[in-house]
Structures are given as structure tokens and as C-alpha cells.
């Protein structure tokens, strides 16, 4: 009816065209196909939304039976409700903007067509993810976006660091997917179906233990995709990919899939309080943890990457404390401002000829004022400056957290302060002071700036324009009222402003101070600067033992040593027996005769005497 399939199909067609014959196409056509397909999808989303009352009455579509075996019956199903609608808008909308931006950003790259093919493929999978009508189709998208993320992180495949980061992303995600797939298996054995409708209808009646198990496994999946503790490690490395990729995949859309899934599965989570608590704790811990790392980084994209991890932690906090709609709201606003931050960072990097270290920037306000302006908008939003989009969503989460447990609120507020500090630290370091880099910095073209402006508007006013909790009303259980909401709001605003002020003091007014503080902190600073050496710990605790163990113990030891050793040993022993026979076979007639006589004696004993005794 609404041809929902058209939404993912459009980018997919774009992928096919660019992927198969893109190399031979002129750049303009590639652009047209790539951007056009996504924009058309966006338009089709708008059309569908408009026609279907923006998902107020959910739409179903069943296209074909995908997997059927006995009781297992999974169709290629789509399902559109209000939550889907929001996600569709975010994905296609931001996606369109980033595609446009990328035409400018990637203009001089080799493998231009390849980049857009991947990007379109990503859109296809992402749209599948959000459109899915059952968990398995969601999983298709889930894995598919992981694949595209892998491909795009490793886009510069000649660089070893890039491909390694891609592998890391894929493999860490696989660990999460391990949880997700187990959740599906458990779900199927519990509900006999993977259909959202059936599962959610049946969930309330099932034992809490099973639901908790399912929820925990899904959480594991979500931590992988959405870069939460303990599986967040891939995301900072993912910045090896081109900046538009960081913006689209590793900030705005894919990484939020975990939040989307948890919200989508709210019925299950709500019946598994322990899992909810875990979600909140994981989210909060990640938020603080990543924020502290963000304070110390110099690579502009790394700062934003840790900020993304931190902000995703916020969303999980929201989901965990029961404020699903607040989580989704933050998801959306974060998509606006974080995409903007990344694209802006891209613009800065573009301006500085590829430099990413902020210590080699500075003073860019003179050279790239437009970029500075839009980045300021985004920075305000993420700092929770009153009225900006980030302010509303973050406040909603913090309030809900207070309602759940006040200490979470306080931790959240401190994190908000840190967030404001490091984002603005980056801002000051980039745009204020003197230019310390090489070459001559320049402003970006309008193909890049245009999307930035749109995003800036959304960052500033997105919160007002789209009141997600209101839109989603009825989908999730309402939050209980919290007393003194105004005061809480004030505290969080104050934290944000304090952060901005402090960063201004340290990086504009008294630029000597940061060095002194780092010197004073000494080892602790080094630890945080080295990202708590988590990667190294993982390497030492998991990766190295696994590889070395496989090599030394399993391959050389078990396979070649024990098993093949046994097999060859049997052969060797067999020859050994042959050797003994050779000894007996001496060639001497008398000994042969003796053997015959011995045989005769034995036979006589066995047949005659043996029988005789019987």
C-alpha cells in the first residue's frame, strides 16, 4: 500500500549502480545517483508519514517468507510506528545531508564511487534495521550496518591502521551480535516467534527470569553496536574512516541502533527490572568514563568520538531509568549536533589540509568563520545551553534519572559539565589563538557548508521542533513526576555553563594552566590520556592469549602434536611391529622349522590336551 520496501530499495539501487558500474561513471552521475537515491528515500518517508498519520496507527508489511523450518517461520516483514517514523526521518534526513556534504568532502579521493556505493549500502541496511518487523530482519540490518561500517572504516585500505580498525569494529560488534543472536534464540524458544507484535503481546506473561536473560543478552548486543562498556573500544578507532562516515555511521545513526533496539524492546525490558538497572548503570558508567577520556584527547575526531560514546551512555541511562522517549529524544538531538560536530570537524580538517591534532590548529576563526559559527551552535547544543536541542533531551534524561535514583542525576550532571568542558576546549583550541599548523587554511565549499547550516539550525531548534516524548506518548509508560524539576534543570544548566567557562579560562585566558594541571596529576593524567589502557588490557587478557594459545597449544600442540602425533604414531608403531616380524623372519631354515614345531606343540596343546582336560 505504502510501498515501504521502496524506502530501503532506493539506496540499494543507488548502491548497485555505483557499485557495479560506478568506476566508469562521471562524478556528477555518481553524485546524482548517490545523493538522489537517499533524498528520494527521505521524500518517500515523508510521503509515507504524511499518508499514514506519522505511524500513529502502525503499518505492517509482509513481503515473503525468508526462513521457514518447522515452527521457525520468519518473514521479510516491515513495521512502521511512531518510533520507526522518527528513526526513518533521522536516518534519511541526516543521511541526505551527509551525502551532500560528502560529495564535497570526498571530491578528490580515489575510489569516490566506491565510497558512495558503501554509503548507499549502509543506508539500505540501516533502513532495514529501523523498518524491521521482527528481530531477525532487525538483525539483518544490524549486521549489515556493521559490514558497511567495516568497509567504510577501512576505506583507506592501503593504511594498515584503517583496516585494523575496521576489523576491530566488525569483530567487537560480532561479540555483541553473539549476545543479540542468543537473545533471539531464547526469545524464539520462549515465544515461538520473533515477530515484534507476537513477542510484545506475549512478553508480560512470561517468567521474569527468562525475560531478564533475554534483556541482558540484548544489552550485550547493544553495548557492541552502541559502543558501551565493555565493548566501546572499537568506536574511537573507527575514526580512521573518512569524516562523513564518522558523522553518519559513528555518530548519528548506526551507533544509536542499540538505543533503538532497547526502546523497541521496551516491553521486555520493563518486565526485567534487573536488566533495566544494568542498562542504566552501563550507560552512566560509559558516560562518565568516556567523558574523562574526552577531557585529555588532542585529536579532534577522537574528542568527538569519546563524546559520542559518552552521549550514547546518556541515552542508555535514559532507557535504563525508564525514560525511553527521553532516550530516543536524545538520540535524535544527538544525531543533529554530533553529525554537525563531526562534519564541522571535517570541515576544519579539510581547512587544515588533513591535520587532526588540535595542537596544530588554532586561530581558525579568521580563516573559516562560517565553520566556526556552525560548530559553535553544535557545541552549545551538546553543552546543554538552554533552548538548544541538547538541552531538552539531556534535561529529560537527567530528570528521569533523578526520579530513578538521585545519585545518578549527580553523576550525570558532573558528566554534563565535563562534556561542556571538552567540547568547548576543542572549540577554543581550534578557533582561538594563533594558527600553528602548516600551509594556508581555507574555508570549505558550499556543498559542505550547506548541510552544516541545516544541521546547525536543527541543533539549535531541534528540541523545540520535535518534542519526541510528546510524539511518542502512549508508546512507553509515563514517567512519574519529579519534585523540583526546575531546580534540577538549573543545576544541569549551571554545570554546562561552568564547563564552558572553565574551558574558556584554561584555553583562552590562562593557557599555561592545562600544562600545570597535567603535570600535577602526573600518572593519573597519563592513564586517562592513554584511554585507561583498556585496549592494551584487552590485548593482554584476551587477544594475545587466544592467538598465542591457539597457535602453540591448539595448532602445534593438539592438532600436530597430539592428534597427528597419535595418527603418525600408529603408523610408526605399525612399522615397529613390521620390524619385529623382520627379526623373526631371519632367513634361517632351522628357526623356521622350530617355529613350525612350536606351532605344532601349541596346536596339540590347544586342540588335544585342552580338549582332553575338558
Amino acid at each position: 500500500m505504502y510501498k515501504l520496501w521502496l524506502i530501503p530499495a532506493l539506496p540499494f539501487i543507488g548502491f548497485l549502480i555505483n557499485g557495479i558500474i560506478g568506476r566508469k561513471l562521471p562524478k556528477a552521475v555518481t553524485n546524482l545517483v548517490a545523493v538522489g537515491s537517499v533524498v528520494l528515500a527521505f521524500l518517500w518517508v515523508l510521503f509515507v508519514g504524511n499518508q499514514s498519520n506519522w505511524g500513529a496507527t502502525p503499518l505492517h508489511a509482509h513481503y515473503f517468507t525468508w526462513i521457514k523450518s518447522g515452527a521457525v517461520n520468519v518473514g521479510w516483514d516491515y513495521w512502521v510506528d511512531k518510533l520507526t517514523m522518527i528513526m526513518l526521518m533521522v536516518v534519511t534526513g541526516i543521511g541526505s545531508l551527509i551525502h551532500i556534504y560528502a560529495t564535497g568532502y570526498m571530491e578528490h579521493e580515489e575510489g569516490y564511487y566506491r565510497f558512495f556505493a558503501y554509503l548507499n549500502l549502509f543506508m539500505f541496511f540501516m533502513l532495514n534495521l529501523v523498518l524491521a518487523g521482527n528481530y531477525l530482519i532487525l538483525f539483518v540490518g544490524w549486521e549489515g550496518v556493521g559490514l558497511c561500517s567495516y568497509l567504510l572504516i577501512g576505506f583507506y585500505f592501503v593504511k594498515k591502521s584503517a583496516t585494523t580498525a575496521g576489523n576491530k569494529a566488525f569483530i567487537v560488534n560480532r561479540i555483541g551480535d553473539f549476545g543479540f543472536s542468543l537473545a533471539m534464540f531464547l526469545m524464539f524458544t520462549t515465544f515461538g516467534s520473533l515477530n515484534f507484535a507476537k513477542v510484545f503481546a506475549a512478553a508480560p506473561g512470561k517468567p521474569e527470569g527468562i525475560l531478564t536473560a533475554i534483556a541482558f543478552l540484548m544489552l550485550l548486543g547493544a553495548t557492541g553496536k552502541s559502543a558501551q562498556i565493555p565493548l566501546y573500544v572499537w568506536l574511537p578507532d573507527a575514526m580512521e574512516g573518512p569524516t562523513p562516515v564518522s558523522a553518519l555511521i559513528h555518530a548519528a545513526t548506526m551507533v544509536t541502533a542499540g538505543v533503538y533496539m532497547c526502546s523497541r524492546s521496551s516491553v521486555i525490558f520493563l518486565h526485567a527490572p534487573m536488566a533495566m538497572e544494568a542498562v542504566a548503570l552501563v550507560g552512566l558508567a560509559t558516560a562518565v568514563f568516556a567523558a574523562t577520556i574526552g577531557l585529555t584527547q588532542y585529536d579532534i575526531k577522537k574528542v568527538f568520538a569519546y563524546s559520542t560514546v559518552s552521549q550514547l551512555g546518556y541515552m542508555f541511562l535514559g532507557v535504563g531509568v525508564g525514560a525511553f522517549s527521553a532516550g530516543v529524544w536524545h538520540l535524535m538531538t544527538h544525531a543533529f549536533f554530533k553529525a554537525l560536530l563531526f562534519l564541522g570537524a571535517g570541515s576544519v580538517i579539510h581547512a587544515c589540509h588533513g591535520e587532526q591534532d588540535m595542537r596544530h590548529m588554532g586561530g581558525l576563526r579568521k580563516y573559516a568563520p562560517k565553520t566556526m559559527a556552525v560548530l559553535a551552535c553544535a557545541s552549545l547544543a551538546i553543552a546543554g545551553f538552554p533552548g538548544t536541542s541538547g538541552f531538552f533531551s539531556k534535561d529529560a534524561i537527567l530528570t528521569a534519572a533523578y526520579g530513578h535514583a538521585p545519585w545518578m542525576f549527580w553523576v550525570g550532571v558532573v558528566t554534563a559539565g565535563m562534556t561542556a568542558f571538552y567540547v568547548w576546549r576543542a572549540f577554543w583550541m581550534t578557533f582561538w589563538g594563533e594558527y600553528k599548523g602548516h600551509g594556508h587554511p581555507h574555508e570549505s565549499p558550499w556543498s559542505m557548508l550547506g548541510p552544516l547550516v541545516v544541521l546547525a539550525i536543527l541543533s539549535l531548534f531541534g528540541g523545540v521542533l520535535f518534542n519526541v516524548p510528546k510524539i511518542l506518548e502512549g508508546m512507553f509508560p509515563p514517567l512519574h513526576e519529579v519534585e523540583g524539576e526546575g531546580m534540577l534543570m538549573g543545576i544541569s544548566i549551571a554545570a554546562g555553563l561552568l564547563g564552558i567557562a572553565l574551558s574558556y579560562y584554561m584555553y583562552v585566558v590562562n593557557t599555561e594552566l592545562p600544562a600545570k594541571i597535567t603535570a600535577a596529576l602526573g600518572g593519573l593524567y597519563r592513564l586517562v590520556y592513554d584511554k585507561y589502557r583498556v585496549d592494551e588490557a584487552y590485548d593482554a587478557a584476551v587477544v594475545t592469549p587466544l592467538i598465542e594459545g591457539s597457535k602453540a597449544v591448539l595448532w602445534h600442540g593438539v592438532d600436530q602434536g597430539v592428534i597427528d602425533g597419535a595418527v603418525n604414531g600408529v603408523g610408526y608403531q605399525a612399522r615397529g611391529i613390521g620390524g619385529i616380524l623382520k627379526l623373526i623372519q631371519s632367513g634361517n631354515i632351522r628357526s623356521y622349522a622350530t617355529w613350525i614345531a612350536v606351532g605344532a606343540v601349541a596346536l596339540l596343546l590347544a586342540l588335544g590336551a585342552g580338549g582332553g582336560v575338558k
Binding site: Q585, S586, G587, N588, I589, R590, A593, T594, A597
Partner: protein
């Protein structure tokens, strides 16, 4: 053996089993000879000894069964033994011609 038995024996003759035992003893001696003698011809003679031992059994059994077929058997064994002797000695001759030895222990190049 008490006297009455001995007397009876003198009257009836010798128990057949004595002949059979003699045959067994000769056979065993033949076997032993095969195993310990080193001259090929002597070894071959030990085989003849074994055959003779068996012949004695045949004749003894023939007597017991009062049949002539045992005798015939012995007769055929003799023929066979004669043929074997001709062939065997011819083989021994060729061996000696090629190796100039009759030591059975030295005929051991084919082994293992």
C-alpha cells in the same frame, strides 16, 4: 607292571600302543634332528626318519584294524619319499654347486 599282566602280554604279544609310542618317539627325534642339525643332507635324513615313524604308525593301525589299506598307504609314502629324495638331493646338489656349502645356516640370504 604286575606279573599276571606280563604273562598275558607274552601270550598275546605286544600292545599296539607300544608300536605307536615308538613311532611317536621316532617322529619327535626326527623333528629334533631337523632343528639341531646343520648339514642339509642330515636334515633331509631327519625328514626321512619322520616319514618312517609315520609309516610305523600306519602299519600298526593296519594291524589293529586288520586292514590292508594302511600297508598301501605306507607303500605310497615310500614312493613319495623316493621321489622326494631324488628331487631333494638334486636341489641340494645345485645349492652346493652354487654356494659350496652344506651348512643350512648359511643358506639365509633371503630374509626379513
Amino acid at each position: 607292571m604286575d606279573p599276571s599282566q606280563a604273562l598275558e602280554m607274552l601270550k598275546n604279544g605286544v600292545p599296539t600302543s607300544w608300536y605307536l609310542t615308538l613311532s611317536a618317539l621316532l617322529f619327535s627325534i626326527g623333528v629334533a634332528g631337523f632343528m639341531i642339525r646343520r648339514n642339509i643332507i642330515t636334515v633331509f635324513m631327519c625328514i626321512e626318519l619322520m616319514l618312517n615313524a609315520v609309516n610305523l604308525s600306519f602299519i600298526a593301525f593296519a594291524h589293529q584294524h586288520k586292514q590292508v589299506s594302511g600297508h598301501l598307504f605306507t607303500f605310497f609314502v615310500m614312493v613319495v619319499a623316493a621321489a622326494e629324495a631324488a628331487v631333494g638331493l638334486a636341489i641340494i646338489l645345485t645349492v652346493f654347486k652354487n654356494r659350496s656349502t652344506l651348512n643350512i645356516d648359511e643358506i639365509n640370504t633371503l630374509k626379513n
